[in-house]
């Protein structure tokens, strides 16, 4: 008993350093599955990944999970006529872009949750007005390239996979209720951080944690290249 009590401060100290140590790894968020190995060796832990997706961006290009191979990306959900939180949210993402947007290991993916209105042309205008018309690594993307209304079901499912609440709501400004979550996804499709874009402290946390993930990805890349 006494021994255990003695250990507590050490445990607390090690937990604290895990949170503040700049060399710490970001956690992998979401469900995990432990699968026994066929050869009887130690079981594998399988971490959740974002589901397969196929989107169209503001230039009419097809965007899939493969588009972000070897990269981290920050995902969020918006719509072009959103009178509520979107301008604030995209303004915060612009700040992240201003600081880290030139990093070749980083991309940005803003999904519209209003595919019926936000056609490729509307998304292009939106990107342009945000000053991102020439940015190659910030995609403003839709699940419905033809503006089909049914595409909203697939984007709502995607939002759920990124832990963002999004749904049609007649009471909400603009007709959609959603929150301003930024999801940080690594080069293997794991979600490594979730941040509330409307909270300045959360955006600061993203700014601090992003380089940790980028360093991890860079460290991984020579090994990939040798294969």
């Amino acid at each position: 008993m006494l021994k255990r009590l003695f250990l507590l401060p050490f445990l607390a100290a090690s937990l604290l350093t895990a949170c503040t140590d700049p060399a710490a790894r970001l956690p992998i968020l979401g469900e995990r599955d432990v699968r026994p190995r066929a050869d009887g060796g130690p079981a594998d832990t399988v971490f959740a990944t974002v589901p397969a997706f196929k989107l169209t961006n503001q230039s009419g290009e097809i965007i899939t999970n493969q588009t972000f191979a070897g990269q981290a990306y920050i995902a969020d959900f918006f719509f072009a006529t959103c009178p509520g939180i979107c301008p604030k949210m995209q303004g915060e993402l612009l700040k992240v872009y201003a600081k880290y947007g030139q990093d070749p290991q980083l991309a940005f993916l803003s999904h519209t949750i209003d595919p019926a209105h936000d056609t490729v042309a509307v998304l292009r205008d939106y990107a342009d007005r945000l000053g991102m018309g020439k940015a190659k690594n910030w995609h403003f993307a839709t699940t419905g390239a033809k503006g089909e209304a049914s595409a909203k079901d697939s984007v709502f499912l995607l939002a759920k996979a990124y832990y963002t609440a999004a749904e049609p709501d007649k009471q909400a400004p603009g007709g959609f209720a959603h929150n301003g979550t930024f999801a940080l996804v690594d080069d293997q499709g794991h979600i490594r951080g979730l941040y509330d874009s409307l909270n300045p402290q959360e955006v600061d946390r993203l700014m601090t944690e992003l380089p940790i993930l980028l360093a991890e990805i860079k460290a991984r890349q020579p090994a990939v290249a040798r294969q």
Binding site: P83, P87, P173
Partner: protein, 120 residues
């Protein structure tokens, strides 16, 4: 009575700023700076003086379609604030028109009420 009166007045003190923070700042920014070419700025916006008499109606009923501010055309939907009283609109406009370097003659509630009669 004399003790409670200052309390009555101070409850409306900074109402314009509070309304701005709650209803406007998420789009127009904490410093009225706007957002790129999506959302027009309010700080230093020529539109405020050019359309002074129309602003109470614009706030109440919202804005849709192209709008030119400082020579830049913006085209974003601004929802109306139908629930705001003439007094609230007056305080809000006085705040916007006298913040971030803006300078303008203070509006009276009566003036704003009259302008609201003429909304299209």
């Amino acid at each position: 009575m004399a003790v409670t009166l200052p309390g009555c007045f101070s409850s409306n003190k900074n109402q314009g700023e509070r309304l701005y923070v709650d209803h406007c700042s998420s789009c127009h920014g904490g410093e009225g700076q706007g957002l790129a070419r999506l959302i027009p700025p309010l700080a230093g916006a020529d539109y405020l003086a050019l359309h002074r008499a129309e602003l109470p109606c614009l706030l109440r009923h919202g804005q849709k379609g192209p709008i030119v501010v400082n020579g830049v055309t913006y085209n974003y939907v601004m929802p109306g604030e139908k629930g705001m009283s003439p007094a609230q609109l007056t305080n809000l406009l006085n705040y916007i028109e006298n913040s971030w370097g803006n300078k303008s003659k203070p509006r009276t509630i009566r003036e704003v009420e009259e302008q609201l009669q003429n909304c299209r």
